[in-house]
Structure formats: structure tokens, C-alpha cells
């Protein structure tokens, strides 16, 4: 199960990368970032997985606990990622007001 999980995480990360690099729509860029982040989060959570383990939540029922540190890690990363996405979307709205487009190739006033 773990190899599948790791493999999926990497594939999802690569899909996100591909989205960022190939799509011209700003929304797609943000979606790509989300996907990449999802891949990384999956990677981290999988690392805390113990076959047959029990989540380290209170009240603890006994058995072998999984490592809770990656989970808190992931939680923080999710929140931070959401903040990044929200900020990016706010920027997109502003950009759309200025440029009248969300085409990434047309948003290149700063160059050289």
C-alpha cells in the first residue's frame, strides 16, 4: 500500500508541475500549485503510516500508535497552502481588473 501511496503522490505532483508549465490560464496555474501541494502532503502523511497502527488521538484505544508529528506537519501545511491559494486568487482578481485578461502570456509588462 505504501508504494502505491508514494507513487500516486509523485504522479500528482508531476501533474501539477505539468499544469503550471503548460497552461496559459492563471486559474490553471493556481490549480497546478494546489495539485503539487496535494502531492507533497500525501507524501508526508504516508511517511507516518504504520501498518495496522492506530491514530494517536485521545482517547487512545491502545495498539501501536502512528507517528502524530507528520500529521500536525500536514495540517499546518494545508492551512498555509490555503492561504497561498487565497492570496493568489485575490491577485488574479486584481490582475483581471487591470489587464482585462487572465492569460498568463499577456501579463508581462515587467521584463528586461
Amino acid at each position: 500500500m505504501l508504494p502505491i501511496s508514494y507513487g500516486t503522490a509523485i504522479v500528482v505532483f508531476c501533474i501539477g508541475l505539468y499544469t503550471i508549465l503548460s497552461k496559459r490560464n492563471l486559474f490553471k496555474t493556481v490549480i497546478g500549485l494546489s495539485l503539487m501541494e496535494g502531492g507533497v502532503l500525501m507524501l508526508i502523511t504516508s511517511s507516518g503510516y504504520v501498518p495496522g497502527g492506530v491514530p494517536a488521538l485521545l482517547p487512545f484505544a491502545g495498539g501501536e500508535p502512528v507517528n502524530p508529528l507528520p500529521h500536525s506537519f500536514t495540517l499546518t501545511a494545508i492551512v498555509i497552502g490555503a492561504a497561498d491559494v487565497a492570496l493568489a486568487l485575490a491577485f488574479i482578481i486584481k490582475i483581471h481588473r487591470r489587464y482585462g485578461t487572465v492569460d498568463i502570456d499577456k501579463i508581462r509588462g515587467l521584463r528586461g
Binding site: 500549485l33 501541494e37 507533497v40 511517511s47 493568489a88 491577485f91 488574479i92 487591470r98 515587467l110
Partner: protein, 485 residues
């Protein structure tokens, strides 16, 4: 003084300023000034308090979050508080106290900066980096009225998020390999991880920090952000924000990457050299004065990365010394050019004629800062470049050393363009003339700082301090011992 106060004070400011705005609008200005003084003083007191290790919540360092003060931390805490104070004063004059949101972001980034500098925990570093970055994206785009600011902020955001992802992957891998996040413990156990894992960890962390600091493959956001932001923000970006990422690079390079024999330092030397050359060559072609300064910042980042890549105590000393010199000079350059560009209502160098008659003191300060950055002999920029050259020579890094001296010639070339423009004839009288007493005072102080820094190698305590930073930083075992006791 407890190190955590250096983080708490600016956070307190960030959280109470909105309250002041809601309940006592008139007090916002006073609060901003008071909190600024408070934050700077706390950071300086923490720095002056000498070496200390505090673990939050009374846990063991393995579990709790450690805050570590050592000589490198001290140096960067001082740098950050100087830079933030200067920028805050300039911002207070430029913006007034109306835009309280700006000050919230400002103090947020200050808190995160102090956090990055103080923390001894890898994941905590990432969290602070994210707070810092989110605040930075927003202050770059502040006020979001010009299209340049928005575009620059957006590009910075996308790049910064990608960089944060790489940092996250690196930290996650390090954690997966060792089960530890405390940097001191990691420094002990990470070398035992498999070689391939180690490469991935180091690669991801280095690449992430490259983006945050503006080293070459990730430098694309930097000129946009520096040139589009408001003047105090540009000064802050160049003076402090970039340095903080370089601090993280120094810390991680010697604590975690030192074990990966010379490869990581070779990578730093290589990309530092590329950054240096590209920054100088691009600055050479700019017509916009702030963009010129921004690309010059790219080049100076390259210089500091080369200094780190020398992998010796001399190299770290040169890096820290150069970081200070660049902070003093580049903040001054941005502030002066902001004032002059406002007078001309244009950032085009060709339009800058006759400004020497108009504001002689500002232009003279510009000349001093430019000479310092370019490395004209008796000034501070030359001193740190000389330290760097000796360190590079000892490392046998000939090409980076040659690039550094070649860069000196180039930077003299491109800084002379605005300077000759200032002294040249004016086509028209400058349309604006707003007095800038506070900015003028800050510029004067920064110029004084430049001169003091030029004398630093001759002042005993300062010289000893700089050398101690190099010695302590390179000696990872000492850090580990102190944190784990």
C-alpha cells in the same frame, strides 16, 4: 532576555494595530512608532544578551521548539532590526499612518524574520518562512493600484509558493529519513541517512532557498518586485528580506549540508557565480534606476552565495560582513533614488539630469553608497570583497574570484550612468519638491553606517565579532553541543 520576546513583540504589534484602528484611530501612528521602537529594542536586547538556548514550553529539544541565539543569529538580528527600523521610518514618512494594513503586514514580516533567525527547528523555519513570504507578497503589491505592483506581487507569489513547496519537500524528506526536526539533532543524524536521500533533501532545500533569496534560477521575481514596490518596501526587500533567506542558507549549509562533502558548496559557488555575472550584466542594460538597483541586488546576492560557497570561516565572515555592507548601501540607494524619482516623476535614468543642483546632499549620498557597493577602495564594499577574495583564493575558487573582481568593474560602469546623469544638465526643472526630513536623516545615518563598517576591520571588537561569527558558524559541533547540552 528571553529570545521569544523578539518574535512576540512584532507579532503583538501586528495584532493590536487593527484594534487601535477600530477603537482609537488617532493612536495608530503613536502605536506604530512605539511598537517599532519596542520591536527593535527587544531584538537588540536579545542580540546583546549573548548566547542562549530556550526551548519552548519546557519540553526537551527533541520535541519542543528550540530558539537559539549564537553569534550568527546575533549578527542577523542586528541587521534585521536596523533594516526594519530604517524602512519603518521611511514608510511612516511616505505613507503616513492611514494605511494601517501596511503596518500590520510590516510587523508580521518583522516577527517572521526574527522567527526565522532565531528558530532551531526545521519545520518552524518553514512556517516562519511562509508567514514572512505571505507578508512580503502583500507589501510588494502595496498599495495595489499600479499594475506593476500587482504583476510583481503575483509573480513573486507564484515563485515563492513553488520555493516553499521545495522547502516543504526537503524538510519532509529529512523528517522521513530521520524522524527528527530539530536542527541540532538533524545535524547529528542526517549524515547517517542514505546518500541518495541526503542529496534529495539538500537539493530541495537549496533550490527552495535559491528562490527565496533570489539566486539565479529563482531570481526572476526579484527585479520585478524590487522595482515595482514602494520605495521603503524596496529598501526593506533588498536590505533585509533577501538577507534572511541567505541567513537560512548559511545556517543550513554549515549545519546540515556540511556532511555532503564538497558537492553542495560547489553548487553554491557555481550558482553564485552565475548569479553574480547575470546580475551585473543585466544591471548594465537597465534604463530604469530602480530596476538597475534591483539587478545589482541580484549580483550582490550572488556575491554572498559565493562567499558561503567558500565553505570556510573566512567565507562566512565575508558573507555576513558583505550582507551588512549591502544592507546599508542598498537601502540608502533605494531611498535616495525613490526621492529623486519622485522629484522627476520618472524612474528613467535619462530623465535624471540636474538633480545635483536640486538635492546636492541626496546625490552625494547616492555617490557614496554607489562607490561602496561597487567596491571603490577605502569603502566598506571593498573591504568585504577583499575578505571574500582571500576566502575564495584559499578555497582555490579562481573563477568565482575573477567574477567578483570583474563585477567590480562592471558595477562601477553602471553606477556611473545615474551619477553622471545627476550631475549633468537639466532639461526641465523638477516638477515636485517635497521635503523629506526623515528619509534624509535615515540616509545620513546609513551613510554613517557605511563609513563605520568601512572601519570595522580596524575596530577591535567589531573585527573580533565578525571573525567569531565565521568561526562559530563553521563549527557545527559547537552548535549541536550547545542546543543539546
Amino acid at each position: 532576555m528571553n529570545p521569544v520576546l523578539a518574535i512576540v513583540a512584532p507579532f503583538l504589534a501586528a495584532f493590536t494595530i487593527p484594534l487601535f484602528f477600530v477603537f482609537r484611530k488617532k493612536w495608530v501612528g503613536t502605536a506604530v512608532i512605539l511598537f517599532g521602537v519596542l520591536s527593535a529594542l527587544t531584538a537588540l536586547f536579545v542580540a546583546a544578551g549573548g548566547e542562549a538556548v530556550t526551548v519552548m514550553g519546557g519540553w526537551q529539544p527533541e520535541v519542543g521548539i528550540a530558539l537559539v541565539v549564537d553569534s550568527l543569529t546575533t549578527a542577523f538580528l542586528i541587521l534585521a532590526s536596523l533594516g526594519f527600523s530604517a524602512s519603518l521610518s521611511a514608510a511612516a514618512e511616505t505613507f503616513g499612518y492611514g494605511p494601517w494594513r501596511f503596518y500590520v503586514l510590516f510587523f508580521l514580516s518583522w516577527a517572521a524574520t526574527n522567527g526565522i533567525i532565531l528558530t532551531g527547528d526545521l519545520f518552524n523555519l518553514f512556517v516562519f518562512f511562509e508567514i514572512f513570504s505571505v507578508a512580503a507578497y502583500l507589501v510588494v503589491a502595496y498599495p495595489p493600484r499600479s499594475w506593476q505592483a500587482i504583476e510583481a506581487g503575483f509573480k513573486y507569489l507564484i515563485f515563492g509558493t513553488v520555493g516553499a513547496l521545495f522547502l516543504l519537500i526537503g524538510i519532509a524528506y529529512a523528517f522521513m529519513a530521520t524522524g527528527q526536526l530539530n536542527m541540532a539533532i538533524l545535524a547529528r543524524v542526517l549524515p547517517r541517512a542514505p546518500e541518495a536521500t541526503l542529496s534529495v533533501v539538500i537539493g530541495c532545500l537549496v533550490v527552495g532557498l535559491f528562490i527565496k533569496s533570489g539566486t539565479v534560477p529563482g531570481h526572476f521575481w526579484l527585479p520585478d518586485a524590487h522595482s515595482s514596490a514602494q520605495t521603503p518596501v524596496s529598501a526593506l526587500l533588498s536590505g533585509v528580506f533577501v538577507k534572511v533567506s541567505l541567513y537560512a542558507l548559511i545556517r543550513l549549509a554549515f549545519l546540515l549540508f556540511g556532511s555532503a562533502d564538497d558537492r553542495v558548496f560547489f553548487v553554491l559557488l557555481l550558482f553564485g557565480t552565475v548569479t553574480l555575472c547575470l546580475g551585473h550584466l543585466m544591471a548594465f542594460q537597465q534604463e530604469d534606476i530602480k530596476r538597475l538597483l534591483a539587478y545589482s541586488t541580484v549580483a550582490q546576492v550572488g556575491t554572498i552565495v559565493i562567499a558561503i560557497g567558500c565553505a570556510s570561516s573566512g567565507g562566512v565572515t565575508a558573507a555576513v560582513y558583505h550582507a551588512f555592507n549591502h544592507m546599508a548601501a542598498k537601502m540608502g540607494l533605494f531611498l535616495v533614488s525613490g526621492v529623486l524619482a519622485e522629484d522627476r516623476a520618472s524612474r528613467d535614468i535619462a530623465q535624471m539630469g540636474g538633480l545635483f543642483r536640486h538635492r546636492p546632499l541626496f546625490v552625494l549620498a547616492f555617490c557614496l553608497f554607489a562607490a561602496s557597493i561597487a567596491g571603490i577602495p577605502p569603502l566598506n564594499g571593498f573591504m568585504s570583497k577583499w575578505f571574500l577574495l582571500v576566502a575564495a583564493a584559499e578555497r582555490g575558487a579562481l573563477i568565482p574570484a575573477a567574477a567578483v573582481v570583474a563585477g567590480t568593474v562592471l558595477s562601477a560602469a553602471y553606477y556611473l550612468r545615474p551619477i553622471t546623469a545627476f550631475f549633468g544638465p537639466a532639461e526641465t526643472e523638477p516638477p515636485h519638491h517635497r521635503p523629506h526630513p526623515v528619509t534624509g536623516a535615515i540616509v545620513a545615518l546609513l551613510a554613517l553606517l557605511c563609513l563605520v563598517l568601512a572601519l570595522a576591520p580596524y575596530i577591535g571588537p567589531l573585527k573580533e565579532g565578525l571573525l567569531a561569527v565565521g568561526r562559530d558558524t563553521v563549527n557545527g559541533a559547537r552548535y549541536i553541543e550547545r542546543v543539546l547540552r
